[in-house]
Amino acid sequence: MGCCFSSDEDKVETNIQNPNERTPLLYPQPGEQQNQGGRSGPIYSQQNQTGDEQSEFTRILRQTAINVIDVTSTESHNIEQGDMQDRATQYSNRLNMVLQGSGKSRVYRPNLPTGITSPQMTLAAAPISISDVQLITSVSEKLANAAREIKIQHKESLVVTFGVP
């Protein structure tokens, strides 16, 4: 895959064939950027020192790239199978590193339900009454039934015949 930082004019055509989220959106060639499927999320803008005109220009380019809706790229073909593998391996190494780096062998525990500040109190309390359980069950059943019965009232025919020969 090409690198768009290249200043080689001839390569630009081929570079934009495979845009990915790291392809710079700021290449100063207006027509060239139309195919960009710019990913949402933070756009990393290049530091631009060459003045207002230039920065305005890049802003417009970036906006255009954001506005373009590329419906052709349903899958990211940008990444080669091998690159994928490499990246997955890298991730798993880094994950190990990060988890180790976070110190103290962490034991992950599911969080307590919100609203329970002192579990011992909740656990020591008397179990809820059977009538409450029944109430919950019957109400949820009724709700489920009601949801199943949501349908549209028929008022008039939607289809009419026309153009009788």
Partner: protein, 124 residues
């Protein structure tokens, strides 16, 4: 260390009946960590499937109703719940009858884990 994380994810997965797999990937669908049950459809945990959500989340963000947060798909046998947790994507693959609300709730349970995994992608 990764094993501990996987054990935790498996434990979470067990709390929702019918949930077959949890995968955490980057925006291109490259797997960072995943756990699967016996019933999980294997191809759905590979990049060709996982990468679609990243592209679709990006497109959905252009519908004029703000940035995309989640996409839920109901298929004839499975449902997928996919969450855009920038820069990570969460994928849950479950039986079509599984409780979608419970699956969505897992995102909160995963908050701590996601903070750490964020660092992994941040390094790239």
């Amino acid at each position: 260390m990764t094993e501990e994380l996987k054990t935790y994810l498996l434990k979470l997965m067990g709390t929702v009946e019918g949930l077959h797999a949890i995968a955490i990937t980057d925006r291109d669908g490259v797997v960072i960590v995943k756990v699967t049950g016996q019933m999980a459809p294997d191809p759905a945990l590979r990049p060709p499937f996982l990468s679609v959500f990243g592209v679709m989340a990006e497109q959905a963000s252009k519908m004029g109703i703000g940035s995309n947060k989640r996409i839920i798909n109901y298929y004839s046998t499975y449902q997928t719940v996919q969450v855009n947790h920038h820069p990570l994507l969460l994928h849950f693959i479950a039986d079509k009858n599984a409780n979608t609300g419970l699956i969505l709730e897992l995102e909160n349970e995963l908050a701590d884990v996601l903070k750490e995994i964020n660092k992994v992608v941040g390094m790239m």
